[in-house]
Structures are given as C-alpha cells and as structure tokens.
Amino acid sequence: MSATIDFTIDGKEIKGQPGQTILEAAQQAGVYIPRLCYMKGLTPWGSCRVCTVLINGRPQAACTQPVAPGMVVESNTDKVNALRRNIIDMLFVEGNHFCMFCEKSGNCELQALAYRLGIAAPKYPFMFPKRELDMSHADVFIDHNRCIQCARCVRASRDVDGKHVFDFADRGAHRRIAVDAEAFLKDTDLAVTDKAAEACPVGAIVKKRVGYAVPFGQRLYDKEPIGSEIETAAAK
C-alpha cells in the first residue's frame, strides 16, 4: 500500500511518501529547502539547522522530520529565511573564510547559500579563530579554518567507505573535526577515491593538485543560485 501523505509547504500541496522527510518530499515536488549538513546518500544528521522550517508554527529540521498528513509547513518566508541567514552569518564569522583564494569558491555550498539568501556581508563581528592545517596526506588536506562541522565527512567515511576516518574532538567552541589516528591525516587509511574526500560542502577537506580547475563564470553557483537545479527540474 502506498497512500500518499498530503501536506502543504508555503501553501503548495505536496504528496509525500510514508517514511520520507519533509526535505525529501519537498525536493521531489520541486521545492528546494536550503540545507548544509544534509547530503543525499548519508544518514540525516540534523545539526546545521539551515533546513529549519516552521511546522504548524514550530521550528523543526526538515532533513530529519518525517512527513505527516495535514502539516502546514512554512519554508520560503521572510521569517524563516531570516533565521537561516543568521545561521549562515554565524558560520562565516566563527571560522576563517577567505573566499578570494579558496579552491572551493564558486562550488561551495556555504558561500552559495549566502548568495542565495542575499548576504552581502555577515552582520556579526568576526572571531578570527586560530585554526590549523593538516597537509600531511599525499592526496588530501584539511583546512580547519573552513570547517563548519557538518559531519558529512564523518558519515561518508563511516557509512559509505566503512572506515571511520573522521570524528569530532573536544567540546563547545573548541569542537573540531579530527582523524581517528593519534596524529595526522597521513596516518589514516583515507584514500583520495573515498566518498569522504568529496563529501565536504566547503573547502575544509580538499583534494590536492586540483586547485582552481574550473574558470570563473563556469563554476556551479556562478550564474544560478544553489537549489535552482531542483526548482527547474520540477518546472520542466
């Protein structure tokens, strides 16, 4: 039996499948809900809260919340987008994001969300924390300056690659991504072909010797906002 689960997002009627999350059902219907820690094929994590929607007036993470009949979901409204902008602003100021020389620029999901949400500059004071680089591995490096702690590398390595190379160390403001060996990335069994080496939404886990491969104007988010691929796929 596959009865649909009917609900609305911003007034649009959506037919979800049992067991789907709001984010997935929306996407199937051509409605893009902004997200960062969500990645297709990985267990939902629910940590970044960029996918926050109001369900019957209450904030919930669309990437973890299952669909239920009759839900009234608000997503692309001024109120919800203001919440999302605050999160993106905070992610920018709590790390060190020098987009002008970042290999990920133009293809970065954090940057693309800032563009989509109309952020010209973050409104909070910058923290400029001291963060480290790990260049030890032959093929991949970690730049902790740009890590937004989305745990996509953790899940990709653990669930897809079956290796568990990454996890978090320390707590609170000191929380950081770490490798499961005593020392550095070179001491792990991470391979450049691993899912974990390409799961990072930002420029924190980067393949070496790729650099600025795609010219300006042709990168993923140069011309069209992130999410428009979902919106236009549905319009066709």
Partner: protein, 181 residues
Amino acid sequence: MAKPKVATTSLAGCFGCHMSVLDIDDRILKLIELVQFDKSPIDDIKKFTGRCAIGLIEGGCCNEENVRVLQDFRAHCDILISVGDCATMGGIPALRNMVPLQECYEEAYLKGPTVHNPARLIPNDPELPLLLDKVYPCDEVVKIDYHLPGCPPSADTIWEALVALLTNKPVQLPYELVKYD
C-alpha cells in the same frame, strides 16, 4: 543643480577595488557627467571640500590612520559603501588576525627570511601610524550603509550600485553580481 559628490579612499586595501572602478571603461565618461569626485585618489584631492552624497571605502582598518579617515568619511558622506572583501570582511590583510601583533612585527622586521636589519630595530617613529591589534572590517568601526563584496567587486557591480543610488532607486543587484571572490 550641482552634481552630487562622490569621495573614495583606500584604507587597508591594495587599490584593486579602485582599479575595478576604473574598469567601468567608457562608462567613466557617463559617471563624470553624473557626479563630481571629491576627496579621492582618483583626482588626488586630499581633503573634503564639502558634504558628499556617497563615500566608497576600499580596505578595512589596520591602523589608527585608517580609523581616522574612515570616521572622516562617515562624517562627510550621506551614504557610505564598503567596497570589496577587505572593507566588508577584513580580507587578505586580516590573515594577520590569527597571529599576535608582536609576532607579526618580529616576523616582518627580525625573523623573516629576507630581512636585513643589523640594528635589530622595529620601526617605532611617531610619524608611523600605530597598528591596531587586528584588522577590522569597516562596519565594526563606523556605520556602513551598503556592502559590495568581491575581490574586487566587478566593475558592473560597482556601476550598478552607484547608478541605482544616484537615481534614487533601490540597490537590487542581479544574482551574478554579488560574489565573494
């Protein structure tokens, strides 16, 4: 009616954003019809001659002189625009923000691989503007009305924003014109 005045300055920047202003190509002739430049490196006027409609700020604040110039711009300009990543977010000069100031001095004047400084002196002349502990984006120092990010922002970005402001239209830039690189 007198043309509105525009002032520009480069604080802790590289003049790349000013180059981008010049990069509007022949539209610069149209710009000269629309505005009169006041204090600016473009015409080399050193002091404000009066009230300005728009001030364009390149660069953040890395020393006390930058702060004074920025405050002077705020006092003289109706609308202040942070132009470029250094003005909006600190930019490349802010790479020193993760290093204590004393270590920056030591690297620059004592330890750096190309340093020749037999007297082992760190410059400390009263003529030199005092460095701030960190490089600050402009809006952490004075109120900024608009931000045009980019390293540099494209000529089109600067042009569109200026024309909108000078013709009393809202600054609504198309998606491709607001970029951080």
